[in-house]
């Protein structure tokens, strides 16, 4: 197997990731890419306790993740790569040939406009997503596997609200 899902989710490790996607995809590991978490052992322990014992979790800064990408892609298990923001995913896409990105959760914050029940975006974030699509990356929003993927055009139009 390999990395089967590249997901942007500001909640990082939570029920939808570990259970919602983790069980049907038979996920064996999660790569959590976040500069803050990668620098703080306490944060890592917090997230480590959120995954079941049969699932490994690895923590990397964005720069570090790029160096490790080949290793994770050749892992015999299925894995999820997770970032907490669009900018970090974009850095990975620019350098590592990711072809599909799942927008799983970007929640309400100052300056963001609601585009989907679980996606709120600033104008800059919308531009970043369009930029990803312009590079040939398939960008869809989908919180859980049973939900219908929402195309980027529909997401940004807010037509699924």
């Amino acid at each position: 197997m390999t990395l089967v899902l590249y997901r942007i989710d500001d909640r990082l490790i939570h029920g939808q990731v570990v259970v919602g996607w983790g069980q049907p995809l038979d996920i064996g590991f999660i790569v959590l890419v976040d500069d803050t978490v990668a620098a703080e052992e306490w944060e890592q322990e917090l997230y480590r306790m959120g995954v079941p014992p049969e699932m490994d979790i690895y923590f990397h800064s964005a720069n570090d993740a790029l160096e490790q990408m080949a290793k994770y892609r050749s892992d015999p298990r299925a894995g999820i790569l997770l970032t907490g923001d669009i900018a970090t995913m974009r850095r990975l896409v620019d350098a590592s040939g990711i072809t599909a990105v799942n927008v799983g959760g970007v929640h309400s914050a100052a300056g963001r406009v609601q585009r989907l029940r679980y996606v709120f975006l600033t104008p800059a974030e919308e531009r970043e997503l369009r930029d990803l699509a312009g590079r040939g990356v398939s960008v869809t929003a989908q919180d859980v596997p049973g939900a219908r993927p929402v195309t980027l055009d529909d997401l940004l139009a807010g037509s699924e609200l």
Binding site: I13, L46, S108, F120
Partner: protein, 138 residues
Amino acid sequence: MSSEATQSDQKPVHRAIVAGHGEFAAGLVSAVEQITGRGSQLIPIAVHQLGVADIEALLRERMIAADVRVIFTDLQAGSCTMASRRILRGMDDAVLIAGANLPTLLDFVFAEGMSAPQAARHAAERGRAAIAVHGAGA
């Protein structure tokens, strides 16, 4: 006859927060109220559409406002659990019970002779033991 006042003749005292996915909290608190009439001890909190920082802020604000030191959440990996663990990091007298179920909360609301944190620990054991499997199906 118990000498304890019932909730019908005194102002309800909140003793814990219940938080989790969807309507988990409201559903469980509703069930506790239906079974015991003591649901008002519990504050149900839903976190739809909130990011991690907002969940933490909401739970912290409600804990302080109601002066409670116990949080029940639904899932070890859940956002409410993560946020609660961050809150507990700076609140030494608080307790988080992750993976709470209805038997847990029923035990908690009746354990009024204990402090709320003590009652929560006791209730966690009761909830853990309350899961049973019936039938011989493979």
